[in-house]
Symmetry: C2
Subunit: 253 residues, 2 copies
DNA sequence: CGGCAATTTGACCGGTCTCAAAGTGTGTGG
DNA sequence: CCACACACTTTGAGACCGGTCAAATTGCCG
């Protein structure tokens, strides 16, 4: 999960125009000139160390963030102290969108490994979006897509077995890595087993047992954080999560 | 100039400016003049009958919709034929936002009872939003808030018991009704038991048993679709108490 | 080497699902 | 208006997945 783990000044100073992640990130669809205007408002901060907090639940919302390298988890805590992980974010993905509505971050964001991010001050972003039409659209598109993936995830939580959940999780990670040019077969799980369990609504023990079983069945090979998907085909059979195709049944209720 | 037709003229012709739901809906925060401009692009269609489809999964995205009265459920089906309900929408709530990103509706929307909606053609909405600043912001806010409630719902699905899920569901409905000026104590469940179960990730039988138990415990009174929340206080305690908040490993009585 | 956290493994328990069937309303057609 | 069919809801019995508790193992890092 960390192809650019060592951070150098070149990485930091690289502008949106030269960023490999352009096609996944906010600039997508903007003209070169507009990207430059966007670039001017982006702050590139020094990398976060593993465990470092990007923002905390309850903090005032100031900026959106785009992951440039590394990975981040977002979570919220109840007053009881329980923690619920909401997402793992990979390079090119935007976070903080859920804070626009309320003006406060409803969740905290923490680096899972050495991670660098681009900071996008929201007020400046919004005035720019007022002028640059494509930016506005892209922002809406990104939020819409996030609504979508949240919906899919809810379906996963609502009626899938532990096995299906973990398989889906692995395949989801794989395809996201692939999109970013990394291997979909072998990658690093930057999050702990207990993070995975929390995210998927499973006990740590269940996650651990499933990893063992998947490995025994020859589906995957795991060694600590490193994982290889040996049988992506059979893995996806495990989760009969369907692509929307079938016409809806007639309403009966 | 004339949304007036043969049916229910009073309801249909009511413009955004006079709509009771203004404060919950898209116009929120707009000036009277801007609301009028928004009003011009809104189509008020004739009411949907119970079971009627507003849009189907896979259809091209053309417009957002605001519920004006009644209620709607949205759901997606897998190619296996299973159906997963994603949301129940009440007056003042917007639907179709998840289609902006992909250009296709990822889910279907069906009326749960006689329901009227306002149609907001998205292209026209977007050009208007380009001029009217507050509209753009309000759109983002609404989407952001939806992301938020999705997150909360995921937490519910990920680690709450059946009891907590149903209690939360009822309280959520109650507060939404209250916001709209209806009673929070007594309202109608326009969706079937099996819809509720599907939505909450529970078997119908479990939902039914819980209704019975809640009633025996004096928390609610149900008769078919009609429900009264007798002890909202105790209900909300159910939402927090089911899972021990701070796991006292070495607790000493 | 030693302490601590994360992971794994085992045993057991319980909540929820599944299967089955009875009960209750609702709508339709005669 | 009644009879019947069908869908929805409720109730019961039993099975099973996954959670909890407990303990062993491994890896990490001073």
């Amino acid at each position: 999960m960390e192809p650019t783990s060592s951070f150098n000044i070149r990485t930091l100073s690289r502008a949106c125009n030269e960023c490999q992640l352009q096609d996944l990130c906010l600039p997508l669809g903007l003209s070169r000139g507009d990207i430059e205007r966007l670039d001017k408002i982006v702050n590139r901060r020094r990398p976060l160390q593993r465990g470092a907090t990007l923002f905390r639940q309850g903090e005032a919302f100031q900026a959106l963030y785009a992951v440039r390298s590394g990975s981040i988890k977002t979570y919220s805590s109840t007053n009881g102290g329980e923690e619920q992980i909401h997402a793992f974010l990979l390079p090119g993905e935007l976070l903080g969108l859920d804070a626009i509505g309320g003006g406060l971050h409803p969740e905290s964001a923490v680096a899972l490994e050495t991670t660098s991010v681009c900071e996008l001050p929201f007020d400046r972003l919004q005035s720019l979006a007022h002028e640059v039409d494509g930016l506005q659209r892209q922002l809406l598109r990104i939020m819409s897509r996030e609504l979508n993936s949240d919906e899919q995830f809810m379906r996963l939580l609502a009626n899938r077995s532990a096995e299906e959940r973990l398989a889906s999780f692995l395949l989801n990670l794989a395809s996201r890595f692939e999109l970013r040019g990394y291997s979909a077969q072998a990658f690093n799980l930057s999050m702990s087993r207990s993070d995975i369990g929390n995210y998927l609504g499973l006990a740590v023990e269940t996650v651990s047992r499933l990893f063992t079983r998947f490995q025994q069945d020859g589906l995957i090979a795991v060694e600590r954080k490193a994982i290889r998907l040996l049988e992506r085909e059979r893995l996806s059979e495990l989760c009969n999560l369907g692509v929307p195709v079938a016409p809806p049944k007639h309403y009966q209720g």
